[in-house]
Symmetry: C2
């Protein structure tokens, strides 16, 4: 990014803001934001990728800019694609519009879509890579992880008392946390494209596993519901209702679960437990983020959020990095990521 | 506090600041701060109660003010005492110094020391009560609780993993939390006048239960070490060493523990567990504050911080109020108080 000016950084910051507007609705595509400035450096267009199948950010921004884009600069959070999918290659659209310079943050790791920067450069367009790369990586974290590793990004969510109980001895667990924490869960669920639980959780709690607003109205777009395990699910289980699609995966292998979901282009899996399924993912090292809601309460007995991990001594403690701690009403939300992660 | 002016509030705020300097070193006495202004309203003296047996705050402030106190105002966080203990009554000292007006925050709930305000008023000194009462109550919370209820204020402290494990299956627990959290424990311990554990914890961990600084050097003043339960403690146990006094209480009744400690004028008990002792205190409703250190780690097996509380269903959850949440290095500290408490 040797050719980046302070104005380049400022416009890329705006492009990252735009990209963030697509979080949760572009699956299986990345979020992308774009700002176009005219030859005089003033902004003439902006756009973001809002939904898979809809126009790409660059196309939106070019449409707003019209002829004013000619000789200008395009700021894009992700390398412009060189791929004809449901829309044409963005690299071609930028070339046709007469853009003189393209600044992007993150190179496209997707082999079928990459090559946009080379194509632009071959048309004598000045190309600058890496401006605000960290911020642009963060907003696209889930998609980049999924494309780079070939499996969905896994968030393990649980609610617990301060003494580590996620359910009472009779398996009841409604409600450990308060309404603000529960609304936060629905906001997070809404940004994922699949929600997984084990069969035991379906039998115990009969959860619907849908995204609902504060008045309990289901959202228009619902993540895929995934039930893992080979115990029988009754036909009357709420997870079988028609409010969302449901996938039954009769396996106990987390890697197999993720393979099946990757085949369906699932980018972000929201893992709700119970303890056996959570333990399988933790043991396999397949948890990319932990979001724990801790209630200011003690129970003294019951079930923990995570089952046996084979630990016998404190030396077997599995440590994570504390990425965030937030108060949500009467509860506390802790966000953990793998050590060495961002 | 009808006769209180903005300047009264300002000087009382300073007196509360001064009082706070005594927290942790005045046991079994309250913390008290005092500011004296001369007849022109300018400050001429200030003081605080630093250590039991040492001069009271009013006496310190009068000493600094000298003759300039005559005709002035004394701001005191607690009603001036009318009691001859190791020092004479502060009410008399204020009268002798010719103070014209006394403003105090909290009436003295201690029957043997109260009556100071009446004595001052009987000498035609203007007396104003209740200025900044909430702040002054807060800084003296432990002592006021102890005098009002006739038992020590109980803080239950524990360290836990995010999945609620305070020890591994082999009972090892060193170290769940990091050095910043452990230093915070020592700071809190230093402000208490007794530390209690159960006999099982002594047998498992052989803790020394002393206050040490970051280089592991013991503090000059050490809380009383209290071991609760009737299991035999080996003569070589570190809790029996000569670095602090130790009290063995062969009982399982928390109320009896607190009676014994109240007889010894213990104001603030720091309860470190283990789970059986903690559960006994929680069941008895004798926990006034919970300080939990939560590590960003999971263990999947082992012992919870608190033993069985008789809960069978989630309806039996014992809720507290979240008073504070703070990040301490890689760990999180949650402070809980009883519902309905401050």
């Amino acid at each position: 990014m040797s050719n980046a000016s302070p104005m380049d950084v400022a416009w890329m910051r705006r492009a990252v803001e735009l990209a963030a507007k697509g979080v949760g609705s572009t699956h299986p595509n990345p979020v992308v934001g774009c700002v176009i400035t005219g030859p005089d450096g003033h902004p003439v267009g902006e756009g973001f990728h809002a939904v898979a199948g809809g126009p790409h950010a660059e196309v939106e921004a070019l449409r707003m800019a019209g002829a004013r884009a000619r000789g200008g600069t395009a700021y894009v959070t992700l390398e412009p694609c060189n791929h004809t999918g449901r829309t044409g290659p963005c690299a071609d659209a930028l070339i046709e519009a007469g853009i003189a310079r393209v600044v992007y943050a993150v190179p496209d790791p997707n082999r079928t879509a990459a090559g946009g920067a080379d194509k632009l450069a071959s048309k004598s367009i000045e190309v600058v890579e890496g401006v605000l790369r960290d911020e642009a990586e963060a907003v696209n974290q889930v998609w980049l992880h999924s494309v780079r590793t070939g499996r969905p990004f896994v968030t393990w969510k649980f609610a617990t008392t301060l003494d580590g109980r996620s359910a009472a001895p009779d398996r009841t667990s409604k409600w450990i946390t308060g309404p603000i924490a529960r609304a936060d869960v629905h906001r997070h669920r809404a940004e994922c494209d699949a929600i997984a639980v084990g069969t035991q959780t379906v039998l115990d709690d009969d959860p619907e596993l849908t995204v609902r607003d504060e008045t309990d109205v289901p959202a228009a777009r619902q993540p895929l519901r995934v039930v893992v395990g080979d115990r029988e699910i009754p036909p009357t289980a709420r997870v079988r209702n028609d409010r969302a699609a449901t996938l039954l995966l009769p396996t106990h292998d987390p890697a197999e679960v993720l393979r099946q979901l990757d085949d369906r282009q699932i980018r972000h899996l929201w893992l709700e437990g119970g303890p056996t399924l959570a333990a399988a993912f933790v043991r396999a090292g397949l948890v990319d983020e932990i979001i724990a809601y801790v209630a200011p309460a003690v129970l003294g007995s019951g079930f923990a959020a995570v089952g046996d991990l084979g630990a016998e001594s404190i030396d077997h403690l599995r440590r994570f990095k504390l990425a965030d701690v937030s108060r949500l009403g009467d509860d506390v939300r802790l966000t953990l990521v793998p050590l060495g992660g961002k």
